[in-house]
Each structure stands twice: as structure tokens, then as C-alpha cells.
Symmetry: C2
Subunit: 309 residues, 2 copies
């Protein structure tokens, strides 16, 4: 199985309103609730690709119960979330139907106690015993040590399980120092980490900071991978219109499934870019349009960057 870690899982709530006008009262016309959090999205896409995926992290309170119920009803992801006393956070996306724009309100999440953290670490180590790869995804809830991704990376390396790290800011910086097999920042995260807005240069810099391989997701420009052996880039053959939420999570699922299946880097890159673009055509994160995905697989060209340039 492939393990995904979502320390700050959420119930993602979408409200539709005819028109959002600050400082007035709105009757919400539609309420949709979904299991939320990057690692859960990755796990859903992995199951759609035929892999067994186990999701861990924290869940608590009434919203934690709701999250677990949604996960069981809507996905075939195996639930290995660890109970906590605090309540799982909600994220609320308010969609203005007059413009299609979204206003996002993200709750901070429950504070994790030291005892809960210890329980999580024990569960994580047990799960690693059966894992062929692990993805560490997203932001941290209050109370979790900021070097958590370094600890989780070291535990995975001890268990000989390849690690993909997908986070940002200080948790990314600290996590890289523990030498994960693969880091997947987006262009903004990469620039914040390295100070460089030139992706190839920044990705090489990020490798020097500890990641064996860096896969940078570049939006409409596709994805750039820099490994010890070379650098490759691939982009969709045309602009794909739609909702980009979850596109990066699908790219992570593409990279991880390709790793487990022993694909070459160009093949992994093709899969990641096709899945990412097919997610833009799907209504929600954690889903992708299978027709778009299969069409794109044959159309994506991978370009190799000359060594050292």
C-alpha cells in the first residue's frame, strides 16, 4: 500500500451564494461537504489509479466524525486517522455564483497534545511496515513540532520506505534537511524557499538543501523534475480551463504511483502532468476526468534539460 499523511485534515465545505456582498446576510443555496486535506486528495487519486492507499493524520470532535464518515462513504481510502481531543477543522469555500469566484475561510485546526503526537508516531511507524511509499502533505496543526516532517522522513528512511514531501514554508525547510527522496513544491513555494523565481535554478538549489529529487509543479507550465541524473520538464499540450484546486495533489499521486510501479522519470512526469491537468477538468480536489487523463497521456512531450545548464 501507499501511505499518505495529512496532519491538518479538514472537512471542506462549499457554500454557493447568488452574490457575495460583504457586511450583508446571505442565504446559502447549496452546501457540499467533502473530506479535505492534501494527503486525503492524494490517497483518493491513488485508489482511482488502482493502488491501495492508507491515510493517516488526526481526526477529532464532531467534524472528525463527519470527516471519517465522508471518507468511508465517498472513497475507497483506508482510514488510519488517529483520534484527538480537539475538533477537526473546517475550510469554507464561498462560491459567488454571479462571478464564479471563491472566497476561502480556513479554520486553524485542533491543537495536538504531546501524548496525541506520541500515539500518532507509534501508528505511523506501524503503518510504515506495510508501506511501499509515503507522502507527507500539507500544513501543520497547532501543537505539532515544526520539524515534524524531518522526524517523519527519518522514520521512513529507517524503515526503507521512499518519502515524498509536499509542504511549504518552515516545515518544508526543516523537512528537506532530513533528505526526503522527493520534494514537490509549487513555483511559489520554491521561490519562497530559495529566493529564486527561475524554476530550474531554484529546483537545483532545493536539491542542495537536502531533497534527492525535486519535482516542481509550475501550473500551466507543467512540471519540472531535477534528479541526480538529469532534469526533465513536461507541460500539457494546450491550456486546460477549469478549477486548479487539487491539481498539485494529483501530481503527487502520479509521481508516487510511478515510483511504486518502477516507471522511468519521463513516464512519471507524463503521468503527473496528465493527472494534474485532468484534475483541473474535474469538479473537486481528489478527483480527475479520466477521459482527459487518458487523452493527455499520449500527447505530453517530455523535454530533457542539458546537464548543468
Amino acid at each position: 500500500m501507499i501511505l499518505t499523511v495529512t496532519l491538518n485534515a479538514a472537512v471542506d465545505v462549499t457554500y454557493r451564494v447568488p452574490r457575495l456582498q460583504p457586511h450583508t446576510t446571505h442565504r446559502v443555496t447549496e452546501v457540499v461537504e467533502r473530506p479535505g486535506g492534501k494527503g486525503l486528495n492524494v490517497a483518493r487519486v491513488l485508489t482511482a489509479l488502482g493502488h491501495r492507499a492508507v491515510a493517516t493524520g488526526f481526526a477529532g470532535g464532531g467534524t472528525g466524525d463527519a470527516l471519517r464518515a465522508l471518507l468511508a462513504q465517498e472513497t475507497s481510502v483506508t482510514d488510519a486517522l488517529v483520534p484527538v481531543g480537539g475538533a477537526t477543522r473546517r475550510t469554507v469555500a464561498v462560491v459567488d455564483e454571479s462571478t464564479g469566484d471563491t472566497t476561502q475561510l480556513n479554520e486553524p485546526g485542533p491543537t495536538v497534545t504531546p501524548a496525541e503526537w506520541d500515539t500518532f508516531m507509534a501508528t505511523y511507524r506501524e503503518l510504515l511496515a506495510d508501506a511501499r511509499a509515503v507522502a507527507l502533505c500539507g500544513s501543520l496543526p497547532p501543537g505539532v513540532p515544526v520539524d515534524v516532517y524531518a522526524r517523519l522522513t527519518r522514520a521512513a528512511r529507517t524503515a526503507d520506505v521512499p518519502v515524498l514531501l509536499d509542504t511549504s514554508g518552515e516545515p518544508l525547510r526543516r523537512g528537506l534537511a532530513a533528505r526526503p527522496d522527493l520534494a514537490k513544491p509549487n513555483a511559489d513555494e520554491l521561490a519562497a524557499l530559495t529566493g529564486s523565481t527561475e524554476p530550474l535554478r531554484a529546483a537545483r538549489d532545493a536539491r542542495r538543501r537536502g531533497a534527492h529529487t525535486v519535482a516542481a509543479s509550475l501550473g500551466a507550465d507543467g512540471m519540472l523534475v531535477v534528479t541526480a541524473d538529469g532534469a526533465w520538464q513536461a507541460a500539457p499540450p494546450r491550456r486546460i480551463a477549469g478549477n486548479p484546486t487539487g491539481a498539485g495533489d494529483s501530481a503527487v499521486a502520479g509521481l508516487l504511483s510511478g515510483l511504486v510501479e518502477g516507471l522511468s522519470w519521463p513516464a512519471r512526469l507524463t503521468r503527473a502532468v496528465a493527472l494534474s491537468a485532468a484534475t483541473v477538468r474535474a469538479p473537486a480536489a481528489g478527483e480527475f476526468d479520466r477521459g482527459t487523463y487518458e487523452d493527455l497521456l499520449g500527447e505530453i512531450r517530455v523535454v530533457e534539460h542539458p546537464v548543468g545548464v
Copy 2:
């Protein structure tokens, strides 16, 4: 005991954000959840005045469980909510800390099935047997017949229990036809009902539509009561600054408690206006500032309107 009915109860969620900017992402800095719905607010204020209050209506889903837990933790209101299959709604108030303004997002609420409605009616009739008065409060959830307040008023009259009706629009119009003892519209609701923005004229019109007595809450202008025997008005002696949410619900609690205690109309009016103003000084609906309340009781003057003017 005094019975309050809240057919569209809610979990009221308040989010604080540093500054609300539509079409961007916000980190919510504080999340507060409270039991919500006009009848629940009335019941809380009644218990603070020393009365036993029983709240009925509907509760369902994870949010229904959360509502009941909050009611048990935070209030001494007796929970007689009827379970439904749908989930209790949330209301989300987004407070912009840079301006203090609030943007409100109200979910529609669960659809009540005919069988659930029958169960509610049976529960309501049982509760009436012990009730000294009943308040019918707020909007209707989907699936509830629009003439529901007329039915509930008739059942209360059959049981010889005085009825206060506090709603708006078509449910108010239909409810008045069943001749409740007291209707408590605010100025806007009264104008929408009667077409008149002159409160005394509009309140007399509302009496002709069926209510034995009309108590109109007029914001800073206090409250106007028109009965078969006369008309009285009272206002706070000075402008009270603060949050008016729940002020009308506290006025209902003042009127109902005064009725049960056998107070004169001027005394009921004084209590309702003092409670309403003291609620403006409290942080949330269902609460009031006791010092402000007690100070105001001695300061409010009641004016009698000449008959027929």
C-alpha cells in the same frame, strides 16, 4: 415551565478574520460555536430570569449532536428537540476585525419529512400539557407546511396555553389568522405585513389580522404594545451602543415571563425594553448584561397612547 419552539435551530459559528477580502483565502483566527435559533435564545434568557424553559424543534446529523452538546454545556435550558434525519444547519458570521462588520452566511436547514413532522406535533402536544406559555419563533426549515404556526397556535389554544408568535413573512401572515395571544414583529416585519411604516397604525392593522395583542420592537425606539384595552410605548432612556443580535429574542423572553408572572402591560413592556437594551451590551444573543438590565428597569418610562389615535 415555558415552552419555546425553534423549527429551524442552528449551530451559530462566528469566524474572526483580520480583514475580509472577497475572492482571497483567509486564515480564521478564532472560531466560536454557540447554540443558535431565536427560540433557543428566548429560552436561555428565560432561565436567566429564573424560569424553567423547555426548547423544542428539530435537531439532526453531526451538527444536531453539536447543538445538543452546546445546549447542555452552556445553558440550563431543557432539551426537548425532536431528532430528524437531515443535518441541523449552521449559520456562519464572519467578523472583519479591521472594521467590526459582520458578513452572514446562513445554511438553509434540513428538509423535514412528513413522518418527522408528525412526531414533532405529538411531542409538542405532550409538552403543552405542562406549559404555562409557548413562544413560536423564527423561520421555517424546508418541508415544513407554511401554515405551521397556525397549526401550532390552534393546538396551544386547545390546550389553553397562551401563544406568542415571533416570525415574519408568509409564516407570520398565516399564523396571525389562528389568533395568537401575542405577536412580536419588528418594524420591518410589521411594515412588510401591513404596508404601513407608521408603527401604531401598522400594529393596529396587525391586530385586525388576528393577534389579540401586538408588541412591535422598534430598535432604539423601544417597543410599542397595542392590546384590546390600550396602547403603550417605552424606550431606553439613552442610546445603547453594542451588538443588537438577539435583542428581539430577549424582548420576547421579557414579555413571556411578565405574562406568566401576571405583570401589568406597562411592567411587561418595561422588562422587555430593559432586557432588549441589556442584550445589546452582551457579547452574544441569548445573553444580557445584568447590571445594565437592573439599572434600566428603574429608568424606563412607559407612555400610554390615547385610544383610537
